[in-house]
Amino acid sequence: MVERHDEEKALVTDEELDALLQPRTVLQLSSYEKVFATKTPLFKLYFYLISMLGALYVGSFMIGALDNHLAFGWSELREHHDLSRLRFVAGFIMLAIVHVGLLAGQRLETLFMCFIGLLTYILVSGTSNLIALDGAINDPWFMGIYVSIQSLFILLLLLLIREERRSIVRLWQLQDV
Protein backbone atom coordinates (compact mmCIF):
# COMPACT_ATOMS: atom_id res chain seq x y z
CA MET A 1 0.00 0.00 0.00
CA VAL A 2 2.81 2.33 0.98
CA GLU A 3 4.78 1.39 -2.17
CA ARG A 4 1.76 2.14 -4.42
CA HIS A 5 1.35 5.53 -2.75
CA ASP A 6 5.03 6.34 -3.40
CA GLU A 7 4.68 5.31 -7.06
CA GLU A 8 1.71 7.65 -7.52
CA LYS A 9 3.65 10.48 -5.94
CA ALA A 10 6.60 9.83 -8.21
CA LEU A 11 4.52 10.16 -11.41
CA VAL A 12 5.50 13.03 -13.68
CA THR A 13 2.75 15.43 -14.73
CA ASP A 14 2.16 16.29 -18.42
CA GLU A 15 3.55 19.78 -17.94
CA GLU A 16 6.68 18.44 -16.30
CA LEU A 17 7.10 15.85 -19.04
CA ASP A 18 6.73 18.54 -21.73
CA ALA A 19 9.34 20.65 -19.94
CA LEU A 20 11.71 17.69 -19.77
CA LEU A 21 11.27 16.88 -23.46
CA GLN A 22 11.92 20.43 -24.59
CA PRO A 23 15.16 20.59 -26.62
CA ARG A 24 17.90 22.30 -24.66
CA THR A 25 20.06 24.91 -26.33
CA VAL A 26 23.67 24.17 -25.50
CA LEU A 27 24.97 27.53 -26.65
CA GLN A 28 22.81 30.60 -26.37
CA LEU A 29 24.23 33.58 -28.22
CA SER A 30 23.28 37.13 -27.38
CA SER A 31 23.54 40.17 -29.67
CA TYR A 32 26.53 42.53 -29.91
CA GLU A 33 24.40 45.43 -28.61
CA LYS A 34 23.41 43.54 -25.47
CA VAL A 35 26.94 42.30 -24.81
CA PHE A 36 28.62 45.68 -25.36
CA ALA A 37 26.09 47.33 -23.04
CA THR A 38 27.86 45.57 -20.15
CA LYS A 39 31.36 46.54 -21.34
CA THR A 40 33.33 49.76 -21.19
CA PRO A 41 33.52 51.96 -24.34
CA LEU A 42 37.25 51.26 -24.58
CA PHE A 43 36.59 47.52 -24.61
CA LYS A 44 34.28 48.05 -27.55
CA LEU A 45 36.93 50.14 -29.36
CA TYR A 46 39.76 47.65 -28.80
CA PHE A 47 37.51 44.76 -29.73
CA TYR A 48 36.50 46.34 -33.04
CA LEU A 49 40.12 47.27 -33.71
CA ILE A 50 41.53 43.79 -33.08
CA SER A 51 38.73 42.16 -35.08
CA MET A 52 39.28 44.48 -38.02
CA LEU A 53 43.08 44.14 -37.99
CA GLY A 54 42.88 40.38 -37.49
CA ALA A 55 40.46 39.97 -40.40
CA LEU A 56 42.67 42.19 -42.60
CA TYR A 57 45.81 40.24 -41.67
CA VAL A 58 44.25 36.82 -42.26
CA GLY A 59 42.55 38.04 -45.45
CA SER A 60 45.84 39.39 -46.82
CA PHE A 61 47.46 36.01 -46.22
CA MET A 62 44.57 34.18 -47.92
CA ILE A 63 44.97 36.19 -51.14
CA GLY A 64 48.74 35.68 -51.09
CA ALA A 65 49.63 39.34 -50.44
CA LEU A 66 51.99 38.39 -47.59
CA ASP A 67 53.77 35.52 -49.36
CA ASN A 68 56.99 37.44 -50.00
CA HIS A 69 57.09 38.94 -46.52
CA LEU A 70 56.86 35.83 -44.36
CA ALA A 71 59.65 33.35 -43.54
CA PHE A 72 58.95 31.11 -46.55
CA GLY A 73 59.24 34.11 -48.86
CA TRP A 74 62.88 34.40 -47.81
CA SER A 75 63.77 30.75 -47.22
CA GLU A 76 61.46 28.98 -49.74
CA LEU A 77 61.22 26.04 -47.34
CA ARG A 78 58.02 24.03 -47.65
CA GLU A 79 57.89 23.64 -43.85
CA HIS A 80 57.89 27.41 -43.41
CA HIS A 81 54.95 27.72 -45.80
CA ASP A 82 52.97 25.03 -43.98
CA LEU A 83 53.86 26.59 -40.63
CA SER A 84 52.61 30.03 -41.72
CA ARG A 85 49.42 28.56 -43.15
CA LEU A 86 48.70 26.71 -39.91
CA ARG A 87 49.39 29.83 -37.85
CA PHE A 88 47.07 31.99 -39.94
CA VAL A 89 44.34 29.36 -39.71
CA ALA A 90 44.91 29.37 -35.93
CA GLY A 91 44.59 33.16 -35.99
CA PHE A 92 41.28 32.92 -37.82
CA ILE A 93 40.03 30.31 -35.33
CA MET A 94 41.12 32.55 -32.41
CA LEU A 95 39.14 35.43 -33.89
CA ALA A 96 36.05 33.24 -34.28
CA ILE A 97 36.38 31.86 -30.73
CA VAL A 98 36.65 35.36 -29.24
CA HIS A 99 33.45 36.46 -31.01
CA VAL A 100 31.54 33.32 -30.00
CA GLY A 101 32.83 33.66 -26.42
CA LEU A 102 31.73 37.29 -26.29
CA LEU A 103 28.27 36.57 -27.69
CA ALA A 104 27.87 33.61 -25.34
CA GLY A 105 28.44 35.99 -22.43
CA GLN A 106 31.57 34.21 -21.23
CA ARG A 107 34.35 35.86 -19.25
CA LEU A 108 37.12 36.34 -21.77
CA GLU A 109 40.12 37.01 -19.54
CA THR A 110 41.59 33.50 -19.61
CA LEU A 111 40.88 33.20 -23.33
CA PHE A 112 42.78 36.44 -23.98
CA MET A 113 45.68 35.20 -21.84
CA CYS A 114 45.86 31.96 -23.83
CA PHE A 115 45.93 33.93 -27.07
CA ILE A 116 48.65 36.22 -25.71
CA GLY A 117 50.69 33.09 -24.93
CA LEU A 118 50.17 31.75 -28.45
CA LEU A 119 50.90 35.06 -30.17
CA THR A 120 54.04 35.57 -28.09
CA TYR A 121 55.25 32.12 -29.09
CA ILE A 122 54.46 32.88 -32.75
CA LEU A 123 56.21 36.27 -32.52
CA VAL A 124 59.37 34.84 -30.91
CA SER A 125 59.70 31.82 -33.19
CA GLY A 126 58.74 33.83 -36.30
CA THR A 127 61.27 36.56 -35.53
CA SER A 128 64.01 34.03 -34.78
CA ASN A 129 63.26 32.33 -38.10
CA LEU A 130 63.65 35.66 -39.89
CA ILE A 131 66.82 36.54 -37.97
CA ALA A 132 68.37 33.26 -39.11
CA LEU A 133 67.63 34.24 -42.72
CA ASP A 134 70.26 36.69 -43.94
CA GLY A 135 67.98 38.53 -46.38
CA ALA A 136 65.33 39.37 -43.83
CA ILE A 137 67.62 40.59 -41.06
CA ASN A 138 69.36 42.94 -43.50
CA ASP A 139 66.07 44.72 -44.11
CA PRO A 140 65.42 46.64 -40.86
CA TRP A 141 62.22 48.27 -42.19
CA PHE A 142 60.68 44.91 -42.91
CA MET A 143 61.76 43.47 -39.55
CA GLY A 144 60.41 46.53 -37.74
CA ILE A 145 57.02 46.34 -39.44
CA TYR A 146 56.80 42.57 -38.88
CA VAL A 147 57.54 42.83 -35.15
CA SER A 148 55.26 45.89 -34.77
CA ILE A 149 52.26 44.16 -36.35
CA GLN A 150 52.70 41.07 -34.19
CA SER A 151 53.25 43.15 -31.05
CA LEU A 152 50.17 45.26 -31.80
CA PHE A 153 47.90 42.23 -31.47
CA ILE A 154 49.52 41.29 -28.14
CA LEU A 155 49.18 44.87 -26.90
CA LEU A 156 45.51 45.02 -27.92
CA LEU A 157 44.83 41.76 -26.10
CA LEU A 158 46.51 43.12 -22.96
CA LEU A 159 44.36 46.23 -23.17
CA LEU A 160 41.28 44.07 -23.66
CA ILE A 161 42.12 42.14 -20.47
CA ARG A 162 42.32 45.44 -18.57
CA GLU A 163 39.00 46.60 -20.00
CA GLU A 164 37.38 43.22 -19.30
CA ARG A 165 38.33 43.59 -15.63
CA ARG A 166 37.00 47.15 -15.58
CA SER A 167 33.77 46.00 -17.20
CA ILE A 168 33.24 43.42 -14.47
CA VAL A 169 33.88 46.00 -11.74
CA ARG A 170 31.47 48.39 -13.44
CA LEU A 171 28.82 45.65 -13.66
CA TRP A 172 29.17 44.91 -9.93
CA GLN A 173 28.83 48.60 -9.13
CA LEU A 174 25.68 48.84 -11.26
CA GLN A 175 24.22 45.79 -9.52
CA ASP A 176 24.96 47.27 -6.10
CA VAL A 177 23.09 50.46 -7.04
Binding site: L77, L83, L86, M113, L118, A132
Partner: protein
Protein backbone atom coordinates in the same frame (compact mmCIF):
# COMPACT_ATOMS: atom_id res chain seq x y z
CA UNK B 1 56.08 24.72 4.80
CA UNK B 2 52.96 26.46 3.53
CA UNK B 3 49.80 24.60 4.57
CA UNK B 4 47.97 25.43 1.37
CA UNK B 5 50.76 23.86 -0.63
CA UNK B 6 50.56 20.62 1.34
CA UNK B 7 46.76 20.47 1.17
CA UNK B 8 46.40 21.44 -2.45
CA UNK B 9 46.87 18.61 -4.93
CA UNK B 10 45.26 15.20 -5.22
CA UNK B 11 47.25 12.04 -5.95
CA UNK B 12 46.39 12.15 -9.65
CA UNK B 13 47.42 15.79 -9.84
CA UNK B 14 50.80 14.98 -8.29
CA UNK B 15 51.24 12.10 -10.72
CA UNK B 16 50.54 14.48 -13.61
CA UNK B 17 53.11 16.89 -12.21
CA UNK B 18 55.68 14.09 -12.29
CA UNK B 19 54.85 13.41 -15.95
CA UNK B 20 55.29 17.10 -16.79
CA UNK B 21 58.64 17.30 -14.96
CA UNK B 22 59.89 14.15 -16.72
CA UNK B 23 58.87 15.59 -20.09
CA UNK B 24 60.60 18.92 -19.42
CA UNK B 25 63.80 17.08 -18.50
CA UNK B 26 63.61 14.85 -21.57
CA UNK B 27 62.89 17.77 -23.92
CA UNK B 28 65.78 19.79 -22.48
CA UNK B 29 68.24 16.91 -22.75
CA UNK B 30 67.10 16.16 -26.29
CA UNK B 31 67.51 19.79 -27.34
CA UNK B 32 70.99 19.98 -25.83
CA UNK B 33 72.01 16.74 -27.56
CA UNK B 34 70.66 17.99 -30.88
CA UNK B 35 72.56 21.23 -30.46
CA UNK B 36 75.77 19.29 -29.88
CA UNK B 37 75.29 16.66 -32.59
CA UNK B 38 73.40 18.92 -35.06
CA UNK B 39 74.59 17.96 -38.51
CA UNK B 40 75.09 14.20 -38.10
CA UNK B 41 71.79 13.71 -36.27
CA UNK B 42 69.60 15.79 -38.57
CA UNK B 43 69.78 14.32 -42.02
CA UNK B 44 68.23 17.10 -44.14
CA UNK B 45 69.21 20.77 -44.53
CA UNK B 46 65.64 21.87 -43.75
CA UNK B 47 65.58 19.88 -40.53
CA UNK B 48 68.92 21.34 -39.48
CA UNK B 49 67.77 24.90 -40.13
CA UNK B 50 64.40 24.44 -38.42
CA UNK B 51 66.00 22.76 -35.42
CA UNK B 52 68.38 25.69 -34.99
CA UNK B 53 65.58 28.27 -35.07
CA UNK B 54 62.72 26.44 -33.41
CA UNK B 55 63.96 23.90 -30.89
CA UNK B 56 66.09 26.23 -28.82
CA UNK B 57 63.19 28.64 -28.26
CA UNK B 58 60.85 25.84 -27.41
CA UNK B 59 63.26 24.50 -24.80
CA UNK B 60 63.59 27.99 -23.26
CA UNK B 61 59.82 28.42 -23.29
CA UNK B 62 59.25 25.02 -21.66
CA UNK B 63 61.82 25.70 -18.95
CA UNK B 64 60.51 29.22 -18.29
CA UNK B 65 56.93 27.99 -17.91
CA UNK B 66 58.12 25.10 -15.74
CA UNK B 67 60.06 27.41 -13.45
CA UNK B 68 57.16 29.87 -13.21
CA UNK B 69 54.86 26.99 -12.28
CA UNK B 70 57.31 25.79 -9.63
CA UNK B 71 57.42 29.31 -8.20
CA UNK B 72 53.60 29.49 -8.10
CA UNK B 73 53.38 26.10 -6.38
CA UNK B 74 56.03 26.91 -3.78
CA UNK B 75 54.46 30.25 -2.93
CA UNK B 76 50.95 28.67 -3.06
CA UNK B 77 49.76 31.13 -5.70
CA UNK B 78 46.89 30.35 -8.06
CA UNK B 79 48.38 28.70 -11.14
CA UNK B 80 45.19 27.81 -13.01
CA UNK B 81 45.65 30.48 -15.66
CA UNK B 82 49.30 29.61 -16.15
CA UNK B 83 48.33 25.96 -16.61
CA UNK B 84 45.58 26.86 -19.09
CA UNK B 85 47.97 28.95 -21.17
CA UNK B 86 50.64 26.21 -21.03
CA UNK B 87 48.10 23.59 -22.04
CA UNK B 88 46.94 25.62 -25.06
CA UNK B 89 50.57 26.21 -26.08
CA UNK B 90 51.47 22.52 -25.73
CA UNK B 91 48.54 21.49 -27.93
CA UNK B 92 49.32 24.18 -30.49
CA UNK B 93 52.97 23.15 -30.76
CA UNK B 94 51.94 19.50 -31.02
CA UNK B 95 49.53 20.30 -33.89
CA UNK B 96 52.21 22.46 -35.53
CA UNK B 97 54.74 19.61 -35.40
CA UNK B 98 52.30 17.02 -36.67
CA UNK B 99 50.56 18.96 -39.43
CA UNK B 100 53.06 21.57 -40.60
CA UNK B 101 56.48 20.21 -39.77
CA UNK B 102 55.77 16.50 -40.49
CA UNK B 103 57.81 15.66 -37.39
CA UNK B 104 60.93 16.95 -39.16
CA UNK B 105 62.49 17.67 -35.77
CA UNK B 106 62.01 14.07 -34.59
CA UNK B 107 65.23 12.09 -34.74
CA UNK B 108 64.40 8.38 -34.43
CA UNK B 109 68.09 7.43 -34.15
CA UNK B 110 68.38 9.20 -30.81
CA UNK B 111 66.95 7.61 -27.67
CA UNK B 112 66.21 11.03 -26.18
CA UNK B 113 64.16 11.88 -29.31
CA UNK B 114 62.19 8.65 -29.09
CA UNK B 115 61.50 9.16 -25.39
CA UNK B 116 60.43 12.79 -25.89
CA UNK B 117 58.10 11.85 -28.72
CA UNK B 118 56.71 8.89 -26.77
CA UNK B 119 56.04 10.94 -23.64
CA UNK B 120 54.35 13.80 -25.52
CA UNK B 121 50.78 12.39 -25.48
CA UNK B 122 51.18 11.77 -21.75
CA UNK B 123 52.28 15.38 -21.29
CA UNK B 124 49.23 16.67 -23.21
CA UNK B 125 46.81 14.56 -21.18
CA UNK B 126 48.56 15.43 -17.90
CA UNK B 127 48.61 19.17 -18.63
CA UNK B 128 44.97 19.17 -19.70
CA UNK B 129 43.99 17.36 -16.50
CA UNK B 130 46.02 19.77 -14.37
CA UNK B 131 44.47 22.81 -16.08
CA UNK B 132 40.92 21.51 -15.67
CA UNK B 133 41.53 20.42 -12.07
CA UNK B 134 43.12 23.71 -11.05
CA UNK B 135 40.25 25.69 -12.59
CA UNK B 136 37.73 23.47 -10.83
CA UNK B 137 39.50 23.98 -7.52
CA UNK B 138 39.59 27.73 -8.09
CA UNK B 139 35.87 27.92 -8.87
CA UNK B 140 35.12 25.75 -5.81
CA UNK B 141 36.97 28.36 -3.79
Amino acid sequence: MNKKLLDAPTGTYRFCEVIVVVFILLATVHTLLLRQLGGPALTTEDALFLSQTLMGHRAWLTMALGLFYAYCRITAKDCSQLLTVSCVLAWFIFIEDTLALDNVLFVPEMLSGQLTQFSRPFLLVALTYMAVESRRRRSDG
